[in-house]
Symmetry: D2
Subunit: 336 residues, 4 copies
């Protein structure tokens, strides 16, 4: 870490800063210039509060040289991590496709969709049992009963399941879930991150709506710091000023993540735009950007054919997307 | 709610939409035009999934006429709510100032600061016992012990206390806390919102970094829907592209909130900019914008005089800010 | 256009609003509800000031049914526009690739790059003669002399040329340029838009850093309203909070534009990220998203091999990108 | 400037970087560490292309120590600049209030408003002759005739005038305008900046919708680099995700600017929110934040009383705002 100090800074202030840095167990290397003095911090700087330093009146700038994430850092783990979810592999040349309904509504619904998406090529089943909703008056999901339905569908159809956890207090209900999802709104719910870090189970960590890539990797780091390294990241759109789409899918995050971390990263093209007709082009775009997989909403409720234009695809539309992906995968050295 | 339907929509699709709307217990009023057909939804539309409607292929636009929040809505509660925290009142002509250290570090530290800020005019004491930190390697707060220290300081100095809750599992430890804070990162931690909604205790609800004013009021609605109407909102800056400040304080949110809701709203000028030298101008700006109070970080640790330029003020600087505020309050029909 | 009026509005105010709407040559259709009254505006609403309406105290909401752009609107022109730049076609099944140096520096440099990119498969040559730079102290481009160099390269190598215009006063110098580029910072320089609208020449219209898709189409509308319909749009990244990339490439804008307009849209993957190593994945992602072409920076100055990691590719890297694109095009029904 | 180089960088690449830096006329100071090597650049770094450096593969980070703006920099000009517009002073303890209609529509209208705002305390007259409009179908302003009307009003009422220039080609028409405004959309129209830089006339430079404070000061630098130092900055709201207001007024920019530059900065509270009922609270907030003045829209067209709720105040509302400001000014050491 490099701290640039203003030249008008008094010797007393400067010495206080140096001794504070040393009190953190770090060494310093000072080089004085005409306009500013530069302090190099030598040692493990991951515990240094960069915002505190930055806000000091005598400090002009602070530059991190080491990234603040360690376990998630590709520098210290150059090979791709391969995350195994009951035989479904994420990372490397693998390209799993997770599919299923937005919300779990009934056993019949989930099993029908599960069969349809499996036939179309999906390798894992998703479905919301606990639903984060902006309004307290909206349907909050079936909860624990929803998880049981997903487990039945898994038995029947043979796809591993992933579903979202919203609170630590339900963690026991996730014991027999194959992959636990942390939703965008909980990406910085640090107690929940620590709790899933203590599980011996893969975690699907969605990016927060307004979180930087570095903050996202720091949230992965929370999980890893508790001993769980089985993390798959999921880009799902960030908040911008553009109103035609619900969120802006940040696909350049994919090649950036490939440099910064060894963890796999998949894309959710359904939630980002909020428009099912964008799922196909954005799925192909995700493959092109180098994603390690996709998670796609599929519904099959004829009573809700109303939703044809909504963010969920019908099974036949999903099959069409999978076919296009399969043609494209060899171009990016991936296979299914 | 007004739904505008494209004219190329088939009669079958249109009828399906109408019967779906009716299945929600709503009436409809249809008016066909040359370019589009407009459906007025009559009844309680707060349960309607606006995103679902918006994403339908046959739908051109959806306009809410009723705001989705009810309990928090000024329309149904025209008078300012006055929230009473052990005699400290928020709302109406009141203007409380909450002050205290960023983190609780020791009994001595907290009691000293509490005495200093009380003398300078603070009416409540703040201090972080549980600390949300981007990095798992940063100090996470003293936890339950920190709350005990705040309680001791309250006994000694006589100021009610407010501190942040980060997880439902610690809720018992907050039984003897006077006001519970929900931090920015937990603004949409819906299980936590419901949990504090079941408490009989005032809640300080901070705005999320990338949350709209409407989402913020919907989070207040979560708390109120469980029976707790004692909510004070707190603007603390939103995420933008500007790098000179940590966040951008959105002061126009204040007069907007005054129209939309009867709940009081205070401002945190310390966290938004991350720079203590901005606390005074942004405090006066908050008063001008019509805020109902302030929450300000103050430190007094001489060993950390290092932090002079950081986001915390020293007690004497805080006293200077309070003095300036006191001169200004009569202009905005507030008093302390 | 639908205007929702608050119920507390007085009859006098309501009547004034109605007669103002009628003074614009529009008819109205009023339907009164329990909570609000809805006014439908019938006729050509493209001249209505939506912001004015929205800001009226008695107005709750305004919804446009007709998009404010007409000439650019796919509704009134369902077929893809094919823009022909000296035989290079944009739109439909075509997929041109424009390549060349960031700045024109010398005849030798431009001709060498032009030859190299033509051999690698580029169909048009780009190069900055006038350079928009944040700093007045940075190199501002060779100006008119730069255009002459591009014209020589065209003669020598046989690729049509595109280069950016920054001010109306240089418009004569662009007479023999094949396609005129409007840069991101000038997307709402309305006098410049009108000026190129009076040219009989294709225009490459880049998206502004913080402009919505609708504003972008309104800028195309400015050009078209002067009689020039030969417009190619270019997505080049929008401004967000993410610091790892210079801008965030908004690829979901591509399928949205395909719905809203008949104009072709290409992508600039070099400028968005600012990192040459992201050009290949983001080029493939653009193809997947349905783009109609690409514009890519290529340099060949061995003295600047320093720039290897910058936003420009070397010719051999560019050739590799073109090869990958060519394999992918049939999947999206495009050909070169 | 500090350049941090990755340790895996080869000696050849490193040496090339060093000699490139030296070719710019700069000295270097290298200090090698365990994880990275740091190069200090010594000399005038304002010409160094920071984005180029940042994008090099061997570079980990680049930190500017010197700000890239010089003439606008408070470091080299510690005293407040006082800008004099025909006797109306901006900067220091002064607090001018500019008022007038959004658009110039007729001589009668402008003279009536001019009289009313002068009586209410305005010290300068504003009015749009050339209007930047998103739509080519919206009223584009009266142009040169509008300027003549403003000049007549000045004669009649005695207030200096400010109006927006949108294109260099009209510069002659501004010869007898007292202050030339550069609008938000033209903040980075560099040719226009240079053109007004060659005028001997004060410039009101509005912040672009999505421009950082540093980019804004670099645009001031463009004007100053041509010899015109008479610049007043104007904050008018930035683009964010919040839909309740048209833009988000960034008041923390005010104290930041007070540190970074000696140029005065005023606030436009009318355009930021787009709501006239926010003008009063945001005006008081601006005073609190330390602004050097205000520019406020006022209308008096009874035929448009329709606009009562729009962004313009009526003269009596404006008088009320001025009265409140006058009470507040002594608190911030300002006077009128």
């Amino acid at each position: 870490m490099i701290v640039t100090v203003k030249n008008q800074c008094s010797k007393r202030e400067f010495d206080k800063l140096i001794s504070w840095i040393k009190s953190l167990g770090l060494d310093t290397h000072v080089s004085a210039g005409a306009n500013a003095t530069v302090i190099g911090l030598i040692g493990d700087t991951s515990r240094v509060d960069i915002e505190l330093l930055h806000s000091l009146e005598i400090v002009e700038a602070v530059t991190r040289i080491q990234e603040p994430f360690k376990n998630a850092n590709r520098k210290f783990h150059p090979e791709d991590s391969i995350i195994d979810v009951k035989g479904v592999k994420f990372g490397g040349t693998h390209f799993p496709i997770i599919a299923g309904p937005c919300s779990v509504e009934s056993e019949k619904q989930v099993i029908e969709i599960a069969k349809a998406v499996k036939e179309a090529g999906a390798t894992m089943l998703r479905g919301g049992a606990f639903k984060p909703r902006t309004s307290p008056y909206a349907f909050q999901g079936m909860g624990v009963d929803g998880i049981k339905i997903l487990q039945k569908a898994r038995e029947e159809v043979g796809l591993p399941i992933v579903t979202e956890i919203m609170s630590e207090k339900y963690i026991d209900a996730f014991e027999d879930v194959d992959m636990v999802q942390i939703g965008a709104r909980n990406m910085q719910n640090f107690d929940l991150l620590k709790a899933v870090g203590r599980l011996n189970k893969p975690v699907l960590l969605k990016r927060g709506l307004a979180n930087t890539i570095q903050e996202w990797l720091m949230s992965a780091e929370y999980i890893m710091s508790e001993g769980n390294n089985n993390i798959v990241l999921c880009e799902r759109g960030i908040r911008t000023f553009e109103p035609y789409t619900r969120n802006t899918l940040d696909l350049s995050a994919i090649p950036i993540l490939k440099e910064k971390t060894h963890l796999p990263v998949i894309v959710d093209p359904s939630h980002a735009s909020g428009l099912s007709r964008l799922v196909k082009p954005m799925s192909l775009a995700s493959v092109g950007a180098g994603a390690d997989g996709l998670i796609i909403e599929v519904h099959n409720n004829p009573a809700k054919a109303l939703c044809d234009g909504a963010q969920s695809l019908r099974p036949e539309q999903f099959a069409d997307v999978v076919k296009a992906i399969d043609v494209m995968l060899p171009l990016v050295n991936k296979e299914r």
